[in-house]
């Protein structure tokens, strides 16, 4: 039976030491997109995992179409018409699309598979909802956006009429988000109920019919999207006013700090990802690099940081040639690097907060003398960093992997900025970070600019690039399409990100 309404009443979930959900009421009905908004750790995912029966609630009840439902497992939830699209896709990469859909289903041929029957139905669903995807393609060969469609098809194939979408846009490019929203609208208009989990305000505004805001496990507001705005939602979410637009003083541009000449570098597969790339960043300015993921941004950052070999060209920092030097040498030249891969390149997961904070400086006085640690100095140093950069951690000895993404990023910033760098290389500094921490990180970047640091900001978040940068360089297929002012129109930037030069993309204007 299709879902008309689903209601969670007074749901609480207690983990050892944490009350993740506190007397939460929530409902969704057929034909609406209900956004569940909240910071990381506000309890959104926990609540939805309760609805999908991955967790048992400590107290509270779930009603489906007005009747009390006892859901014991995700399979149970699915049998009741509830499907969940996880943030990390639950797909078998080596399987075809159809095999992924057929997996775990009863076959019409008993023990034998009936992939041709499944293929037909997949194609029907694809046409009906605009979920175009090649049924016999191997999943690992598909773009992330297409993989997401496979997940949706999987749920629909199992007759789900309520779809829970857990941060579905986190992995998508701006273009993919647009197509994805079209699909969501079509699903809604066909009479499905959708729950859209997000912490991105503009997305919630763009796609939802109603919004429920969670903070610290409690519902702090529920509004019709038409009756609210980003500012109000942000206030509900964080509990105070949030700055999203920064009034920067005009740039006090100093000498050129970073100078890249005709740089080329290959990606992990050995294909040239950065080609003949030239750029200058001056002291006291933020240069933002915008572009769709996979256009060489990662390789560019790593090449500058000394973590990837430059196959051609030269990189100068303060007139010093740092091309193909080791990361330690580059770092010693005054380059701070906030890498895109926070958990693998930014920190050592198993190390403590203190150990991570001294990764670069641990071998030198005052932290060490003749190769022996001075724990008093280390303790003082780390205590100061944690306090100055507002890293929320139970202690200095807490393993970094148990901190939230925002706090890990603050710790990385603390480590990198405390050395008073000449050049700050920030790659996706706020990806997956909650709005409070994002605001904080932005504040620090602007502070660096005021201190005369040259800042190279690489981000796929166009809003972020526009809010912070003095100049924006748009990158496409390893090259700069153009350098424009941050006041350029969104559409022009979008076109440039697709490789098309806009009219005002004239480097000489800024």
């Amino acid at each position: 039976m299709p879902i008309e309404t689903v209601e969670l009443r007074n749901v609480s979930k207690r983990f050892p030491g944490v009350l993740a959900n506190d007397q939460v009421n929530f409902d969704v009905h057929a034909g609406e997109i209900h956004a569940l908004l909240g910071e990381n750790g506000a309890g959104k995912s926990t609540l939805m995992k309760i609805l999908y029966a991955m967790y048992r609630p400590t107290e509270g009840e779930i009603f489906i179409n007005g009747k009390l439902a006892e859901l014991r497992s995700p399979a149970d939830a699915l049998a009741n018409g509830i499907g969940m699209i996880h943030q990390h896709f639950q797909l078998v990469p080596g399987f075809t699309v159809v095999e992924n859909v057929a997996l775990g289903l009863k076959s019409s041929r008993g023990p034998l598979t009936d992939l041709d029957v499944v293929t037909k139905r997949v194609q029907e669903l694809a046409t009906q909802y605009g979920l175009s995807v090649e049924p016999n393609a191997l999943v690992w060969q598909l773009a992330v956006g297409q993989q997401q469609r496979v997940e949706i098809i999987k749920a629909l194939y199992r007759d789900a009429s309520l779809l829970i979408l857990d941060e579905p846009t986190a992995v998508l490019t701006p273009q993919e988000v647009k197509e994805f929203f079209d699909i969501l609208r079509r699903l809604r208009d066909a009479g499905n109920a959708l729950i859209f989990i997000s912490h991105k305000l503009y997305e919630v505004m763009a796609i939802s019919d109603r919004v429920t805001v969670l903070r610290d496990g409690r519902v702090v507001g529920r509004v019709k999207t038409a009756d609210t705005n980003q500012k109000e939602l942000a206030r509900m979410m964080v509990g105070r006013d949030v700055i999203t637009r920064w009034d920067k003083p005009p740039a006090q541009q100093g000498p050129v700090v970073l100078k890249i000449e005709h740089l080329s570098a290959a990606n992990d597969k050995g294909i040239t990802a950065v080609r003949d790339f030239s750029l200058e960043v001056r002291a006291g300015e933020i240069l933002g690099i915008a572009g769709v993921s996979g256009n060489g941004q990662r390789e560019l950052a790593e090449a500058i940081a000394g973590m990837r070999r430059a196959t051609a060209g030269t990189i100068w920092v303060d007139n010093q040639n740092v091309t193909n030097q080791s990361p330690a040498q580059v770092s010693a030249s005054g380059v701070a690097f906030v890498p895109e891969e926070r958990m693998t390149m930014g920190v050592v997961r198993e190390f403590t907060v203190a150990e991570n904070a001294i990764l670069e400086t641990h071998a030198y006085p005052p932290l060490a003398n003749r190769g022996v640690f001075d724990f008093g100095q280390i303790n003082d140093h780390c205590t100061r960093l944690v306090r100055e950069y507002d890293v929320k951690t139970p202690s200095l000895d807490t393993p970094v992997k148990s901190l939230s993404g925002g706090n890990i990023q603050k710790l990385i910033l603390a480590r990198e900025l405390d050395r008073a760098p000449r050049l700050l290389l920030a790659a996706q500094p706020t990806r997956g970070v909650d709005i409070g921490a994002t605001e904080y990180i932005h504040k620090r970047l602007i502070e660096q600019r005021a201190n005369g640091t040259a800042v190279l900001l690489i981000s796929e978040d166009l809003e972020e690039v526009r809010a912070l940068s003095d100049r924006i360089a748009v990158m496409y297929e390893g090259q700069i399409v153009g350098i424009v002012s941050p006041d350029s129109k969104m559409e022009d930037l979008g076109l440039m990100m697709a490789g098309i030069k806009g009219n005002d993309a004239n480097p000489s204007t800024c």
Partner: protein
């Protein structure tokens, strides 16, 4: 020397005994393939084969009934497979290390039982040949392909059967999914443990048949460490075959043909030191594995990783 080897009788002999020698490898590797494709490295095959080989030998020696012997060997293998599954799936033990444990356990147990229950090696009558009427009279092909014992035919029948199960059944789909992305399978209501119990137990049972084929159909005797590394070669053959049944068969045949060839070299008294000749198949395995490793595409990514549900 070459003329001696190229004599028709020798060629037929090498081919026929090569096919016969491939039998235990096929049973063990095909079983192991199921286990590995589902994500469990079953390194203890050798130990399972030893215990089952003894069981089959003992039953044949005492009752003379090959069917009983085979059934008991399969059962013994299956039970040891179940034990392996319990250790690797339920207890989530490190599979390489626990596999060595199973091997040593099987080696010791089979030797102990043999000393207590039999004492000194005594030859038995092996499973008789089953001449396929009509076909066995064909020149060359007859003696090579159609004049073997039942276990040989069975081993080769396993290959297409395994391919079919893996690629054309819902069980096969589940096995492959569980070995690649157990989280995805779990999210669709498939019990990862259940699937792995099935495959690991199956691998044990088939290792049991492999052991029996060695002790009652090939060597027709039991002694300490009868298998002498055969079970480990079987594990290597699964990698060599890239987890695909027909390629595993090709590997098993290649290996056993070289083995048959070196045995003939030794019997013909060709001037090649027997130790060197005996090393040939193993050298070949290593070389083949080096090349095989380069073109692996279908590796079960969750191999050796116990499944734990994330919270």
């Amino acid at each position: 020397m070459l003329e001696q080897l190229l004599a028709p009788a020798v060629i037929i002999g090498v081919l026929a005994s090569g096919i016969q020698l491939a039998t235990p490898y096929l049973y063990a590797s095909i079983g192991e393939m199921f286990s590995q494709v589902s994500g469990v490295l079953n390194l203890g095959l050798e130990g399972v084969m030893l215990v089952a080989a003894f069981a089959a030998y003992y039953i044949t020696w005492t009752t003379g009934n090959y069917y009983y012997a085979l059934a008991i060997a399969t059962l013994v293998g299956g039970l040891m497979g179940l034990l392996t599954a319990f250790i690797s799936v339920t207890l989530k033990a490190e599979q390489g290390i626990s596999g060595i444990g199973i091997y040593l356990f099987g080696l010791g147990l089979s030797d102990l039982l043999f000393l207590v229950m039999v004492g000194t090696p005594k030859a038995i009558d092996g499973v008789p040949r089953l001449e396929i009427p009509g076909l066995s009279d064909l020149p060359v092909l007859g003696p090579v392909l159609f004049s073997q014992n039942l276990l040989v035919y069975g081993a080769f029948a396993c290959v297409p059967l395994a391919w079919f199960i893996l690629n054309k059944t819902t069980l096969g789909l589940k096995i492959r999914a569980v070995g690649q992305t157990p989280e995805a399978a779990d999210s669709l209501g498939i019990s990862v443990s259940q699937v792995r119990y099935i495959t690991v137990t199956l691998a044990g049972a088939m290792a049991g048949i492999a052991g029996a084929s060695l002790s009652i159909a090939l060597l027709n005797i039991f002694q300490q460490n009868l298998t002498s590394g055969l079970g480990f070669i079987a594990v290597a053959l699964v990698y060599f075959g890239g987890w695909r049944p027909f390629r595993i068969m090709a590997g098993a045949l290649l290996f056993s043909m070289v083995n048959a060839l070196q045995l003939w070299i030794q019997t013909l008294g060709i001037g090649l030191p027997s130790d060197i000749a005996g090393m040939l198949p193993y050298v070949l395995t290593i070389v083949a594995l080096i090349f095989a490793a380069r073109q692996i595409v279908t590796q079960p990514t969750a191999l050796t990783k116990p499944f734990e549900r994330g919270e």
